[in-house]
């Protein structure tokens, strides 16, 4: 059993110090970004912005500004990627979880590959091929690249979601005379829905945040939010890039906070092993 000695003040101090350091390491960069997003003027050697304001926010959100257009492009691409990925991933996930598959090992390998291999060579060569067939710089081209990666995540999560549905429930419904399709529609699918929603969110975020693939395939016409942010940073415009980064942070952090509600531990445990 643990002893119930009073915590020594030194121990408490040490613990608090470590937590504070970690909090600074995690929130320091985020706080710095927040300051930049609202800084009107800030230059060396001032520790804090000299003037705060919303000038740059107006500039970012002006009706015909680049940022709103990029946000629209990003969301549109992400939605198309989710639709496309799930349309092919849900049947595949079901087959992996429930059906007898020939060449199972090889098929699993194909769906693991994109996680285990550096993606840069893939993007480089896809860009070259897409350039020749006129898909470079098109929304479709970017969606295909995002989907080929998001799809893999979606297959794994969907497969885990279907696997975690209790097979005896399906059997019961079949024994009571439900057709296979009715059984899938009224028993399997509803029980797997939280996992499928989670996979949709995962794919959406992946697409929204994707940089390297879009960098190669999207040029010159498709500018997503991450690319806009990158260009602003490289151009030295820290306010614009910080505001754009903030826009990208909101869904990421929001998802981090709710992820466990969608992905139950038993599904989460089967993903990414």
């Amino acid at each position: 059993m643990r002893t119930f000695a009073l915590p020594s003040p030194i121990q408490t101090l040490f613990r608090t110090l470590i937590l504070a350091l970690l909090a600074f390491a995690i929130f320091g960069p985020l706080l710095n970004l927040l300051l930049w997003a609202f800084a009107e003027r800030w230059y060396f050697p001032n520790k804090l912005p000299i003037e705060y304001g919303l000038t740059y926010w107006y500039r970012v959100f002006q009706p015909r500004g680049n940022a709103l257009a990029s946000l629209g492009t990003s969301v549109w691409i992400a939605v198309l990627t989710v639709v496309f990925s799930l349309a092919v991933a849900v049947p595949a996930g079901y087959a992996l979880a429930r059906l007898k598959l020939p060449w199972r090992g090889a098929i699993l390998l194909a769906f693991l590959l994109p996680q285990a291999v550096p993606n840069l060579p893939v993007y480089v060569n896809i860009a070259q091929v897409f350039y020749q067939i006129g898909l470079n710089g098109t929304i479709l081209g970017v969606v295909l690249v995002h989907a080929s990666h998001g799809l893999v995540l979606a297959v794994w999560i969907a497969s885990a979601a279907f696997a975690s549905v209790d097979a005896s429930l399906e059997e019961a419904s079949r024994n009571l005379g439900a057709s296979p399709w009715t059984c899938f529609r009224t028993v399997t699918l509803p029980l797997a829905i939280p996992g499928l929603i989670a996979s949709a969110i995962f794919v959406f975020l992946e697409s929204l945040d994707e940089f390297t693939g879009t960098y190669f395939v999207g040029v010159p016409d498709v500018t997503t939010l991450p690319l806009l942010m990158f260009n602003a940073t490289m151009g030295g415009n820290y306010q614009i890039s910080s505001i754009t980064a903030l826009l990208l942070l909101i869904p990421s952090i929001g998802f981090m906070l709710v992820v466990e509600r969608f992905l139950k531990a038993d599904v989460l445990a089967m993903v990414g092993r």
């Binding site: 915590p7 710095n32 970004l33 595949a92 699993l108 896809i126 059997e171 940089f211 390297t212």
Partner: protein, 289 residues
């Protein structure tokens, strides 16, 4: 033992192997067309001379120009992987064994913030945070830890490592904490009762049981970091830098796909050992499930 009927699993909608293949075919086709084929193409383009035929010229050039960068890449990614492992073990270990419930709760809430933040944003965050005039230096000066004159920009290899660890450590910690939570608590309590310290329990009892998960998390991080382009571009674009920057440069400046693909293959080789380990582990797991 179960009866034969129970073994026949659930009644699938479609029967037979053909149906299963039909369901999985579209997903396989997408991965094959837009992932496997371009990957294979890399192996061809890297060895193809300008007028067709086989050549090693691209590799010679890649070594000539970029051997420093390749070593630099390996060093940065290895160092980051080691640091990520240490941070993840420390945090996940405290989450599992920590004796102070409120600290455990605070830590659990705290560590996962960067989990889904994209690399490109992490790069931007560190670019401002670690700059000579960034918040880190201001805080260090403000607390008297360093002299104002000795403040320096960390936007070199150190910045890349910090960005990588900041972004990837929560991911490995999440995996590891999940695995540690499923370690038999009786083992832990038995050891504690016999007088083992928390550190001993972590190293001798818990870690050996979650080694597989830790390695998978680290391998995935290693491979991911190898092909990150945005972070090195934003933090340290000048030589020596990571090979990904060189690949982008070869293409955007010279349209030189030969050398770019040779560099890609070399970084694939760096990843190969880790990737083979991961794939074997994951396929074995998935087939056994």
């Amino acid at each position: 033992m179960t009866s034969a009927k129970a073994i026949s699993v659930s009644p699938p909608i479609l029967r037979g192997r053909g149906a299963a293949l039909l369901l999985i075919a579209p997903a396989l086709a997408v991965v094959g067309l837009f992932f496997v084929a371009p990957l294979a193409m890399s192996g061809i383009v890297a060895f193809r001379a300008a007028h067709g035929g086989f050549t090693l010229e691209h590799f010679a050039k890649a070594f000539d120009f970029y051997s420093t960068d390749l070593l630099f890449t390996l060093a940065i990614v290895l160092l980051s992987t080691i640091l990520i492992g240490m941070v993840a073990i420390a945090i996940a270990g405290y989450l599992t064994l920590g004796g102070h419930p409120r600290t455990v709760a605070a830590l659990r809430w705290l560590y996962r913030w960067p989990l889904f933040i994209p690399f490109v944003v992490a790069g931007q965050l560190m670019r401002t945070f670690l700059a000579k005039n960034g918040m880190l230096n201001h805080v260090l000066i403000g607390t008297g830890l360093i002299e104002p004159l000795s403040a320096q920009s960390l936007l070199d290899w150190r910045g890349i490592v910090v960005a990588f660890v900041w972004k990837q450590a929560p991911f490995v910690t999440l995996l590891l904490a999940g695995a540690m939570a499923s370690v038999e608590s009786q083992h832990i309590e038995a050891a504690r009762n016999l007088g083992a310290s928390r550190r001993r329990v972590l190293i001798d009892i818990v870690l050996p049981q979650v080694r597989g998960t830790l390695l998978v998390g680290l391998v995935l991080s290693f491979v991911t970091m190898l092909s990150v382009l945005s972070v090195p571009l934003m933090i340290n674009p000048n030589s020596p830098t990571m090979a990904t920057v060189d690949v982008a440069y070869r293409i955007s400046t010279f349209g030189d796909y030969g050398v770019a693909n040779a560099l890609c293959l070399l970084s694939l080789a760096l990843a190969a050992i880790g990737a083979v380990f991961y794939l074997r582990h994951a396929v074995a797991r998935a087939e056994g499930a």
